[in-house]
Amino acid sequence: MNPQIINQIADLSQIEIQDMQATSNAITDIFALINQLQAMDTSDIEPLNFPLDILDKHFQPVRVDKVLADVQKTIENAPLTEKDFFLVPKVID
């Protein structure tokens, strides 16, 4: 994993890299493990995302689309607020 790729990944992740060498080594080690997947032929296999789909039964319930949250309690943990709004640095000139 060269620095250019690491920087691309960091940008996608919205994370800053402090030590490029250490990060590159760590991510390279993980990909050495992950690349073992390529040895297996899976050309005719369907992906399994929701584990219970293996049972071919539909389980997932749906509910009415109704707001249940208490707005006031929800914003209590925010670093900066004004009335019911979260405050962030200005993004529009």
């Binding site: 996608l12 919205q14 493990l33 992950i34 297996m40 997932q60 249940l68």
Partner: protein
Amino acid sequence: MYNTIYECLDLLKNKKISATELASQYLNKIKTSNLNAYIDVNEQATLKQAKACDILLQDINNLDTKPLLGIPIAHKDVFVTKIWKSTAGSKMLENYYSPFNATVVQSLEESGMVCIGKTNMDEFAMGSSNENSYFGAVSNPWNNDYVSGGSSGGSAAAVANGLAICATGSDTGGSIRQPASFCGITGIKPTYGSISRYGMIAYASTLDQAGPMAKTAKDCALLLQHMVKQDINDSTSIAHPNVNFLANIDKNWNDGNNTSKPLLGLKIGIPKEFMGEIDTSVQIAIDSCIKELQNLGANIIEISLPLTKLSIPSYYVIASAQASSNLSRFDGVRYGYRAEDYTDLSDMYKKSRSQGFGEEVKKRIMVGSYVLSQGYYDAYYLKALKIRRLIAQDFIRAFESCDIIVGPVAPTTAWKKGKFDKDPAKMYLADIFTLGASLAGLPCMSMPCGFADGLPVGLQLITKHFAESDILQTANLYQQNTDYHLKQAI
């Protein structure tokens, strides 16, 4: 201290102890402990809950509607609570108080339980040693120089050392089973979807599952009874078809009459891929346990789970990908850590996340972002999901010839703190036996089965979807004939 919930319930019903006295005993023991098992303890809040229980205990009939009335429980800090902090073991949520209780916390509170505190954990449930916590590592009660296991290390150490009679944990790739094994207690991860994930701080949404941890299988079954329910707030939660986990737990397998062979008729499969690549001392303990199961009447057969080794890369791709998505909500805007100095919004996101997350979490987010990115999604994420299906099919095939599968939880006992500091990716290999059942969404548990070099060894039991009762019954019958689960670390 006490060994089981049943023991405490008996004392409470017969007025030999009050809920307040019981809670106080645990709170006092926590104050003098050096295990670092807890992140947040609020004595006032706990005693307030206990006093409310004592008022209700004046009328024993209240136990009909609140069967766990007055029993103290510790909650892994991955479950949000209104009164105690909810940190997920992270600086990112160091001072976070949730506006609501997690469903599992609420359910147990409504059953009458008293919250003793929030237990330490690997940050955002990412880790196998509880060394990744912002609040420091948890020590193993059997040898404080060794890890407790993770990510539910605080819960496991607390129960093992008498700092809690029981606890909640969460298991994504082994995080209940492995610390239970390392600390010498019992813990179960039920079928995926059994317990609501509403209010469980998310790591990997198609793998995360809550579960109980206690000294005995029967206590775990009792807790599970009150944790399993479908929840409209979690659209991945299911209506479990077999919720009476206690119905057959004391009965012999297949209602047999042979009292010296309670497991007669039980077919146990041992995957050949699980044996041979483990420490010799662990192998000895596991072999001895299998012999004991045979002596109790079980029939042992060899089976195969040929993709066991591929469960590691498959899991780490899927879990990291889902983690990168789940942790994108931590941006310093609505809750959690916000950096003090930044130039613009984008800089605020980056600095808040870089300073708020630990190294392991940042690594997994980056791996996850990469495997989901354009040009790599098919080669990694989709590939891992296909192998997931093959692994699940292997288990289903295996269950055609056996009732349950057993094997070691981990290749070793707990390791010395700092062992993997220079090579953290090597720690991932230690999850080899627990990941498959997680990927397949199967119920699985760990129970103590011996010791190796002075440290506990756990046996993993895995069964078919929705058949938790089978492994809880097997574990209970084993525990009625052995005493590893009652051993106390001094």
